[in-house]
Structure formats: structure tokens, C-alpha cells
């Protein structure tokens, strides 16, 4: 037995894991259309490699990452690309993002796969390239590219590989099912990673003691090898990367740092299986194990789901009762986010679809006042003072929020869970974090604008000075010239000037008619422009995107203003 450490705080919500573990991992029929979001990972944008109407094979690359911090996505089945456009994606905002839609041909035909059975003969860098090309991102939470985690860096050596088999969120059993059903793949994945990391000194699988069967399955495979399986008492949120590292090693990842700072790499079960498949079988990441659970689903089970499968496909195959569903959650009840539509596709980080009934997760009661009881502080796994953070979040006191380490909050939801006043604390923190980030960006923008403004002022001043200097020089030249010829034409200028001024006054007086004509012309022009703009707006509404519509409606608005202005001026003149 290895020693384990206990994190502060934590909660014990009802586990609800048994219902989805009654059956082994299932498979669903291939959906008619698959919607594959292009940007599923943290990182820079990417370019699309396919065009509408193009036929793609299963496993074919759809995008190319522009920069090495991003990953490609792949077609999950064979078929035809029928759209590349904005579509609702798995994101708490419920907003749309660019997706490739594939109509499947039902053949599920693979591209040519070249697996490397004897991966030990390959260098780590080659293997990392394969992992990057296979689009493997951390499959637990944020979708951090796995290859970056595993990449060697100059000053940091990895001596500990931590495998996160905690799965502390209630309801979710995807990793549990994978450990039981795909034990061999998992072990092979660990071997690949050990090879890439050049044989770390310690390999630890951290697992909560509520998964005895998975522990048994793992033990039967790793008896003789050097992988240590460390079960520890079930407590939410032990599965957070930082929490797990503390539980297993007693060390803390520095604030703002990464596990690599401690010489550790932490990987998730799903990621390891995906790595094995990429290296040994030559298959990119196009499917994952997802738990479909909740009382609103007649069947609770784990499925091997193709990335891009619409949630509605999963739900209809599980006797989903829409009327009995209080909310639709991607992920677990503690950290998962609500989906506003069932059109959203499964992505690489979708470990669970939770459709609870109204009695299972009822609507939240209205928040009462905070009485600072401190239950949240007792529950906080990172020793924050949630009640103080809430206080300052309400006051929008960003300085105090940062002094109270708001950015060390892992948003696990333990504080909101125990809050007797039912305050949505985590949402307050998320909102405050967003506002602080925005304020920082605004600050940078403002500094930038100031710099540019000051530079422009300087430039204009210099230009002005130069012009002045030139004028001065010219004046000197003409003065000299005049001085030279001063004797020739004296005194006629005054009368000339008066005559010219009179001439100007006459033209001005005659002008109202001309002005009117001019204004009428302007009005006509403005009106025709308005008509044109309106026409364009109608066109845009019929077939254009929302962006075009906004542009057009703005131009209609401005054209209308111009017309009004012209009419107004004309009226003024005629009155």
C-alpha cells in the first residue's frame, strides 16, 4: 500500500454510478449526419482541408492546425461533406461555432491505417507527432493537447506518470467502463507513454475505492509490472488534476503552474486508450466512451460513440423522455454544463450525457442571503473563502477577488453544493473571472490605443513643424523676390481686393436656388441609396448569414438617417 494524503474540504454527493454499469459498453448505429466542430481544443485556429460535396473516409483529416499548439479533427465515418457552417456546439454559452457536417454513407470505410506494433523501436518525437496528428487531447476536461503534455522540455524531467482513474463526478462511469472493458488497451497505452517519457521512475494509477471491479481488473494485468495502483477514499473532487497529485504525492502544483513543474505528467484513462489506438492501431481519435444516464433516459449505459454524433441520436436510442427531463447536462452534475439544444454533437471531452428527471435534479430554489456560515469554506478543496469571494464578486471588487486567490478556484462546485442559501457561487466566480480577464484585455487595448494616439499626435506635430518650416522658407524666398522687384508695381492691390470681395458676395446671394437644387439632388441620391440598402437587407435576410444581416441593417439605418437629414435641410431652406 502506498501512502495517500487527504485534501481539505470536499463533499459526498450521491454517487448514482450503479445504474449505468449494469451493462457493458454498447455501440450505436451510425447516425445519418455527423457534425464535427473544428475547434475542440485549447489553441490557435486551424484551416479546413475539405470542401462541400467532397467524399471523406473514416479517419480522414478535416483540418490542419496552423500552429503546433492545436490539433486536427478527423471524419468519424465515411460519407460526404454537406456543410461547413456555424452550428450549435458543446459549450455552456449555447453559441454556434464552425462545424463540418458529414452525411454518412453507412459503409464506415476506413482510410489506410498504419499501426506500429513495435512502438519501442520508434523515437519519442516520432510517436508524439503521431499522437498530435491523431488529434488526441485530454479527454477529461479542458481538452489540452496530449502531445504537449508529453513533450520533453529542456529543464524539466518527468519522473512520475500519474494516471487519473478517479472519476469522482457522480453519475459518470465512462472511465470505469473503459478500465473494465479495455484493460489491455489501457495498459498498452501506459507502456507507450512510459516509452515516450523515457521510463519515468513512478507510474501511479489513482483510483477511488468505489470502483472495486476496475481495481480488480487492473490488478490482474499489472501484478508483475511496475505500475502502482493506489485506491483512496471516495470524495468529490479528488479527480481534479491538482487534487489527485496532492492525494498521491503530498505535493502541490504551484499556483498558475503545471504538473510538469513538479516533474509529473497526469493523463486520463480515455486519453491513454486513444494513444494506444493511435500508435498501435493507427487510428485517430474519432470515438470515445460516453455515459448516457439520468432518470429521463430509459436506458442508462456506456457507449462507444463517434465524435460528432448529435446528442439527439444518443437520446433517442435510450428511450429519452423529453417531458420528464429537467435539464440536459454534458458532463457530470457537479461540473458539467447545461445544453440548450439536442443538436449539439459529442466532442472529444464529452464523458457523459446526463438527462435527469424533474425529481432527480429539481429546479433551483431562489438564492437566499449569504449568512457567511462557512460551510462553503469547509467544503472548498483548495482552501479558499468562498463566502468572501462571493461578497467581493457582488461588489465587483476585482482587487480583493484577486487577493483572495479567485484564480485558484477550480470551479468544482462543492461550495455551491453545500450552500444552505442556495447561492450559485460558482457562477458568480465564473462571471467575475470573465470580467477580470476582460478588464485585463481592455487595459491592454487601452494602453495600446493611448500609445498609438500619442504617436499620432507626435507625428502630426512633427509634420506641422516641417510644414511651418517650409512655409517660412517659401515666405522668405518670395519676400526676397518681392524686395527685388518692389519698385515695379506699387499700390494697385487694395482696389483689386475690394472688387473681388464684391464679386464673391454677388455669387453668394444668387446661391439659394442653386443650393436648393443641390439639396434636392442630394435627397434623391440618398433616397435611392436607401432603397438599394433595403433591397440588400431583404436579400441578406433571405439567404445571408446573421453577420451580413447586421451589416445591411446598419447601412439601411444610416441611409435612412441621411434621407432624414437631407429632407430636414431642404425644409429649413424652403422655410
Amino acid at each position: 500500500m502506498s501512502r495517500t494524503w487527504e485534501t481539505p474540504g470536499g463533499v459526498h454527493p450521491p454517487e448514482n454510478k450503479l445504474q449505468s454499469m449494469t451493462q457493458s459498453i454498447g455501440h450505436l448505429p451510425i447516425p445519418g449526419t455527423l457534425v464535427i466542430p473544428l475547434h475542440q481544443h485549447i489553441g490557435s485556429p486551424e484551416t479546413v482541408d475539405v470542401t462541400i460535396g467532397q467524399t471523406v473516409l473514416k479517419g480522414q483529416k478535416l483540418t490542419t492546425a496552423i500552429h503546433s499548439d492545436n490539433l486536427p479533427v478527423h471524419a468519424s465515418t465515411s460519407g460526404t461533406v454537406i456543410a461547413i457552417d456555424d452550428h450549435p456546439v458543446a459549450h455552456p454559452s449555447g453559441l454556434n461555432a464552425l462545424c463540418v457536417t458529414i452525411a454518412s454513407d453507412g459503409k464506415d470505410q476506413w482510410i489506410e491505417r498504419t499501426g506500429i506494433a513495435d512502438f519501442r523501436r520508434c523515437g519519442p518525437l516520432d510517436l508524439l507527432q503521431i499522437i498530435t496528428d491523431a488529434g488526441i487531447a485530454g479527454m477529461g476536461g479542458a481538452g489540452f493537447p496530449a502531445a504537449i503534455k508529453l513533450s520533453p522540455s529542456n529543464d524539466k524531467t518527468v519522473d512520475t506518470l500519474i494516471i487519473n482513474a478517479t472519476e469522482c463526478e457522480p453519475y459518470i462511469t465512462a472511465d470505469d467502463a473503459a478500465m473494465r472493458g479495455k484493460t489491455q488497451d489501457l495498459i498498452q497505452g501506459i507502456e507507450v507513454v512510459c516509452h515516450i517519457l523515457n521510463g519515468p521512475k513512478r507510474v501511479v494509477i489513482g483510483i477511488e475505492d468505489n470502483k472495486p471491479q476496475a481495481i480488480k481488473a487492473l490488478r490482474s494485468y499489472v501484478q508483475e509490472s511496475s505500475i502502482k495502483i493506489v485506491p483512496f477514499p471516495t470524495k468529490y473532487p479528488s479527480g481534479g488534476e491538482k487534487q489527485l497529485i496532492y492525494i498521491l504525492t503530498g505535493r502541490e502544483v504551484p499556483s498558475g503552474g503545471l504538473p510538469i513543474d513538479l516533474g509529473m505528467v497526469c493523463l486520463n484513462i480515455g486519453t491513454l486508450i486513444a494513444i494506444k489506438r493511435a500508435i498501435v492501431d493507427g487510428e485517430p481519435l474519432i470515438s470515445r466512451i460516453t455515459t448516457v444516464t439520468g432518470e429521463a433516459c430509459g436506458v442508462n449505459r456506456n457507449y462507444e460513440v463517434l465524435i460528432g454524433t448529435p446528442i439527439s441520436h444518443l437520446l433517442t436510442h435510450n428511450e429519452f423522455d423529453e417531458n420528464n427531463c429537467s435539464r440536459l447536462i454534458m458532463g457530470g452534475p457537479m461540473m458539467g454544463f447545461s445544453l440548450t439544444s439536442t443538436d449539439v454533437p459529442v466532442v472529444k471531452t464529452t464523458n457523459c450525457i446526463l438527462a435527469p428527471s424533474h425529481s432527480e435534479i429539481p429546479v433551483d430554489t431562489p438564492a437566499q442571503a449569504c449568512i457567511r456560515c462557512g460551510l462553503c469554506a469547509e467544503a472548498c478543496p483548495v482552501s479558499l473563502l468562498p463566502q468572501q469571494l462571493f461578497w467581493y464578486a457582488q461588489a465587483k471588487d476585482q482587487e480583493r477577488l484577486e487577493a483572495h486567490n479567485l484564480f485558484d478556484c477550480i470551479e468544482c462546485g462543492a461550495c455551491s453544493y453545500v450552500c444552505p442559501s442556495n447561492i450559485p457561487l460558482v457562477q458568480h466566480y465564473r462571471s467575475s473571472k470573465g470580467e477580470i480577464r476582460k478588464a485585463n484585455i481592455d487595459k491592454i487595448d487601452a494602453d495600446n490605443a493611448r500609445q498609438r494616439f500619442e504617436f499620432r499626435k507626435l507625428r502630426l506635430e512633427q509634420a506641422d513643424k516641417q510644414r511651418q518650416a517650409k512655409r517660412e522658407a517659401r515666405r522668405l524666398v518670395t519676400e526676397q523676390a518681392r524686395a527685388a522687384s518692389s519698385t515695379s508695381q506699387p499700390g494697385s492691390s487694395a482696389a483689386d481686393i475690394i472688387a473681388a470681395a464684391q464679386q464673391r458676395a454677388i455669387t453668394k446671394k444668387a446661391s439659394p436656388d442653386q443650393q436648393k437644387a443641390k439639396l434636392e439632388r442630394a435627397l434623391l441620391a440618398a433616397q435611392s441609396r436607401l432603397q438599394e440598402a433595403e433591397k440588400r437587407l431583404i436579400e441578406a435576410t433571405i439567404n445571408g448569414s446573421t453577420k451580413q444581416q447586421t451589416i445591411c441593417s446598419a447601412s439601411v439605418e444610416s441611409a435612412r438617417q441621411k434621407v432624414d437629414q437631407a429632407q430636414h435641410r431642404l425644409r429649413e431652406l424652403t422655410d
Binding site: 498558475g256 458539467g336 440548450t340 457567511r372 460551510l375 442559501s421 460558482v426
Partner: protein, 355 residues
């Protein structure tokens, strides 16, 4: 169909604020029973007057402040304030004493500061202190414990008590007397043994002072129930009792004529237990972190002893708590817990990054 956009976590612990408050109310029962047994119907009448006044005052203030009345009354916080105040007031106090105290507690100390969760001072203790300063005679007239009543005299019955409280009838002789803390305050020149020998309050006591010891045991039981149900942590109450005990050991002075009394007497007299478990643990007006609450409790324990031993008042929990309330934000500033991944604790007023 569109589903609702809701921030995680989804689902919630069933514990609610009104449940917490109800539990606090229930836990005052042992103390209440002990008080009623020892001192008669007075406490019960206090309780009824205080609760009614507080609820009406709370409702009126909420109405004035345009807040939903039923929503806030249901959190039981006004009832808790009223009950704590009623338990602290002398039994058989005139009705207007209780009404004034409750009104001040709810209207000024609670609602004018913004209602539940926003009061910087413990409302019950503000009410108590206002009464103590304004009506010292009414507030220091305590009923004699049941076992010390003169031969043939009994505590007034319910109707009699009501007539004393509401009609201002003077109670019969012999049913009011000094408390153990009063005795120590007013008996300078006697060594402790002498006091214990002379005073019936002590020579008939089981271990601390007649009547009061059981009242304090009652509140101790209630406090332990709340500790067990994790309504609050042990930090503030234990720190207060510990400091009080420590101080009375330090200044015990082997029972000389200058001794302010034994540790047991201090722990089980006056409002020690009630203060430790029901007043200090008011989360709104106390320090927030566990470490902060420990310091907060110690400070109050120290102040209680200092005022009892060398101040003008025989008991001091109310004053000490209010002074502690004053200090709470200051304590908070220096007692932030060390967050995961940080090498040192920060101050609440820190600017920028710590490392």
C-alpha cells in the same frame, strides 16, 4: 425543445438556511428547559414577547424596505435573534424591556444594516447591551433559583408571572436575588473559601453555582448537538472557553480575597456557555476563516474575563462579543487560509501577485 441554460453544479445538498436556523432554535431547548426549571415562567414569557415583537418588527421593516416578507420570515433568522435575546434577559422583566430590546435588535442592529447577512454586530447582543445600559436595575434583577427560595415561597405561577410582567405588580419578597457573578463582584475582601462557605449560591451548588450551573450545562448540551451536526466548527467556542479557563487559572491567585473566582465557576456561570455556543457562532458577525474564528473566540474569552474580573459589570459576554465583532474584519484581513499551490497565506488587502 430548448433546454435551460444553468450553471453547474446541478443538484444540491438538501440543507437550507432555514433548516440551519431551525436546528439552532431546537438546540436552545436544553438551556431553555434548565432556565425555566430554575427560574420559573419568566423566560417563557420573555420568549413569547420577544418572538412576537421581532417577527412583527421584521415584517414591518421588510415591508418598508420593499422586500418580500414571507420569503425572509421563512428563514427563521428573526426568530433566532429573538430567542437568543429572550434567553439572555432576566426572567420576569417587564414586557417593555423585552419589546424595546427586540425592536432595537431587529430594527436597528439588523434591518438598518441591510437585513440578514449584512449586520456587522450580533443583533441579540446589541439589544441586550442597549437594555443593560438603559435600564440597569431591570436588567440586573434576577430571580432566585428554585432550590434557594425561602421556605414556603414559590416561583410565581403563569398568571402571576403575567401580571408581574404586564401589569407591573411587584413580585413577592425573596424571589429575586444575586447571581454567582454578582456575588464575586460585590464581595471584595473575602477569600474564596469564605464566600463559598457563606453564600447559599455556592454552598448548596453541585460544582459551580446553584441554578446557573445547570443552565450552562443545558446550553453546553445544545452546543454539542450543533457541533455534531456541523452547523459550526469548534474553533470559536472552544477558543473562547479555553481562554476563559486559562485566564481564570492564571488569576486564580489560590483563592485569595482578590481572586475573581475559579475556572469552573467562570465556565458555568452567567452566559459563558450560551455565549460560546450560540452567540459567538453567529456566522454573520464573526470572523470567517477557521483560524480567524479561533482568534476571534480567544479575544472574546479574554475580554469576558477582563470585564468580569476588573470591569464594572458582573457578566460581560455581550460587551465582549460586540468588541469581538468590531475586530472581526481586522482579524479576517490577516487570517486568510493558505490556498492550494501557494507558498504563503495572503492578506485580504494584498495587491497583485504574491510570488
Amino acid at each position: 425543445m430548448a433546454f435551460k441554460q444553468i450553471s453547474s453544479p446541478h443538484g444540491h445538498n438538501p440543507q437550507s438556511t432555514s433548516w440551519v436556523m431551525q436546528l439552532v432554535l431546537l438546540s436552545t431547548l436544553p438551556g431553555f428547559i434548565a432556565l425555566s426549571y430554575q427560574f420559573g415562567w419568566g423566560t417563557f414569557i420573555n420568549l413569547i414577547i420577544a418572538v412576537m415583537t421581532s417577527l412583527v418588527a421584521e415584517a414591518a421593516m421588510l415591508a418598508l424596505r420593499n422586500r418580500p416578507i414571507a420569503f425572509y420570515l421563512k428563514d427563521y433568522s428573526a426568530a433566532v435573534t429573538a430567542v437568543l435575546l429572550a434567553l439572555a434577559l432576566p426572567p420576569l422583566a417587564s414586557w417593555w424591556v423585552v419589546v424595546v430590546g427586540s425592536l432595537f435588535a431587529i430594527v436597528v442592529a439588523k434591518q438598518l444594516y441591510g437585513g440578514i447577512g449584512h449586520n456587522p454586530f450580533n443583533p441579540a447582543m446589541v439589544g441586550y447591551v442597549v437594555l443593560l445600559i438603559s435600564f440597569p436595575i431591570e436588567m440586573t434583577t434576577w430571580v432566585t433559583p428554585i432550590s434557594l427560595l425561602p421556605e414556603g415561597v414559590q416561583h410565581p405561577g403563569l398568571w402571576e408571572s403575567l401580571s408581574i410582567v404586564f401589569a407591573g405588580n411587584t413580585p413577592i419578597d425573596g424571589i429575586t436575588g444575586a447571581t454567582p457573578l454578582d456575588v464575586f463582584k460585590h464581595s471584595s475582601g473575602l477569600v474564596v473559601d469564605q464566600i463559598y462557605h457563606d453564600e447559599a449560591l455556592f454552598n448548596q451548588a453541585s460544582f459551580a453555582g446553584v441554578g446557573w450551573e445547570w443552565v450552562n450545562v443545558g446550553f453546553l448540551i445544545g452546543g454539542i448537538i450543533l457541533l455534531k451536526t456541523r452547523i459550526f466548527t469548534w474553533h470559536a467556542p472552544l477558543a473562547m472557553l479555553g481562554t476563559l479557563a486559562l485566564m481564570s487559572i492564571l488569576f486564580w491567585d489560590s483563592g485569595s480575597s482578590a481572586s475573581p473566582g475559579s475556572p469552573v465557576m467562570h465556565l458555568f456561570s452567567g452566559a459563558s456557555m450560551m455565549g460560546a455556543f450560540f452567540i459567538l457562532t453567529d456566522p454573520v458577525s464573526s470572523a470567517v476563516s477557521n483560524r480567524g474564528r479561533f482568534i476571534y473566540g480567544s479575544l472574546i474569552g479574554l475580554l469576558v474575563y477582563v470585564i468580569r474580573a476588573w470591569g464594572n459589570y458582573p457578566d460581560a459576554v455581550a460587551f465582549a462579543v460586540l468588541l469581538g465583532n468590531f475586530a472581526a474584519p481586522f482579524i479576517d484581513n490577516y487570517t486568510l487560509p493558505r490556498t492550494y499551490g501557494h507558498t504563503a497565506r495572503r492578506k485580504a488587502t494584498d495587491k497583485g501577485e504574491d510570488e
